[in-house]
Subunit: 258 residues, 2 copies
């Protein structure tokens, strides 16, 4: 399905589930919306934590169309939104038109689907995709660099990689410093504060054996998580897995922007 | 002179001229200060124009010490400041303490001195340095990407490079995408809207002959220039050549940040 048609179906409610594996060749993005008052701090937080927070587009106050998706409307083109007030989820909505404000600034943040396309293309198998699972994500003991209201732990995604392909996976992802880049950690989960690898904080655990190594990359959920934990009056995000689908292919993005 | 001593001498007024060639192994930075109200737009402008606008540090509202310079004070550690009101210069000052406000956000922007250190180290001679001249800068016909209040032309610096070393200079600077990166243009100045190469908009012209090619890189004056041209109520900058000297060596910076 082309991304414009997909966004149209999402807008009308015809498509209302997660976007994983849909329009898989196109860049999908995490969303965080904050009032203008907090936009400088949020953008600075992203700048100070570039590996966790690859900002791929910023919609200025009140703007609803992303430059990466012609004719899009950020208020309606995501299947499910979460609204957080003072750090607590207050509402789940299918569109934002009734609560939209002219001071809302929308940040689109890169997601691992883009990152994974490069690994798959170079012949590094990804077990969670083979098993049709959401990637496992963990809150670590590594801290982000604070900016204004925003701080908190680095969130990582974990992928089991065949031992003999670990170096290849590192080398491939290191080529994309603006899309998470090289792993933050390879091997023992305890070293980054993960006590039980079988219980991810978000997503689903993918088992691995002796012949595989857990590899951890910084995750685009980090800034969203920092925005929620800051307990600012209002943050709106996409629901996990219910992403914003752009018109840009993963290949174009990695070639031009990373 | 070490940077801390130099900043101390600047603070007391003992050193009160331009910083070109002083503490030459340390990163020097352009300065732009805007009120918090405009800080999001300015940071977004820098993000959208990364080759022109390598932000190396942001001092949050009211903060006066840069993380790149222990014990520094942005209100006093630059030899000369220009104050612009509504796009017009209203005052030249040696310190800002009397006019400082808690909503001032200071942006330190990379400068070509860092960039040049890599070229010199790799054996690419730079004629303007040999002739002890300020680099020539030009306003081009290329436009930056707008963000809120800020827009305007790309400003470039020009260096004559020996014909046989042009490719080498391109390759070296391409390694530093976060510090201007590869040239925006090589050769005929008219192609980027420069009608008379002997008359730069800022700095001093360095003559060149048949055996040399003019090479143009995006320049850190671009965001400062956009801030002034926006005619927002207040912008404070360093005076040309009177830079902020950090504690970070050019080599460290290029290795870790570019």
């Amino acid at each position: 399905m082309n991304p414009r048609d997909l966004r149209e179906k999402i807008r009308t409610g015809e498509f209302n589930t997660h976007t994983s594996g849909v329009g898989s060749n196109y860049v999908q993005a995490n969303l965080a919306i904050v009032p203008k008052e907090y936009a400088f701090d949020f953008l600075l937080f992203a700048n100070r934590n570039p590996k966790s927070c690859p900002i791929i587009d910023v919609l200025e106050p009140g703007v609803v169309e992303s430059a990466l998706a012609a004719g899009s409307d950020i208020r309606s083109d995501i299947p499910l939104y979460f609204v957080y007030e003072n750090g607590k989820i207050s509402e789940k909505r299918h569109e934002l038109k009734e609560i939209w404000r002219d001071d809302f600034v929308s940040f689109l943040i890169g997601c691992s689907f883009t990152f994974e396309s490069a690994l798959l293309k170079e012949g590094v198998p990804l077990k969670h995709i083979e098993q049709n699972k959401n990637v496992a994500m963990y809150i670590t003991n590594r801290q982000t660099k604070q900016a204004g209201e925003f701080s908190g732990p680095v969130v990582v995604s974990m992928r089991p990689i065949k031992n003999e392909l670990v170096q290849k996976a590192i080398d491939i992802t290191a080529q994309f410093p603006n899309m998470h880049g090289s792993p933050i950690h390879v091997g023992d989960p305890k070293e980054i504060g993960i006590d039980d690898i079988s219980k991810p904080d978000f997503g689903e655990f993918t088992e691995y054996g002796e012949e595989e190594t857990p590899v951890f990359w910084e995750c685009g959920v980090t800034p969203q998580s920092a925005a929620i934990h800051s307990q600012i009056p209002l943050v709106i995000t996409h629901a996990p897995g219910h992403m914003f689908v752009t018109d840009v292919t993963n290949e174009e993005f990695l070639r031009n922007r990373s």
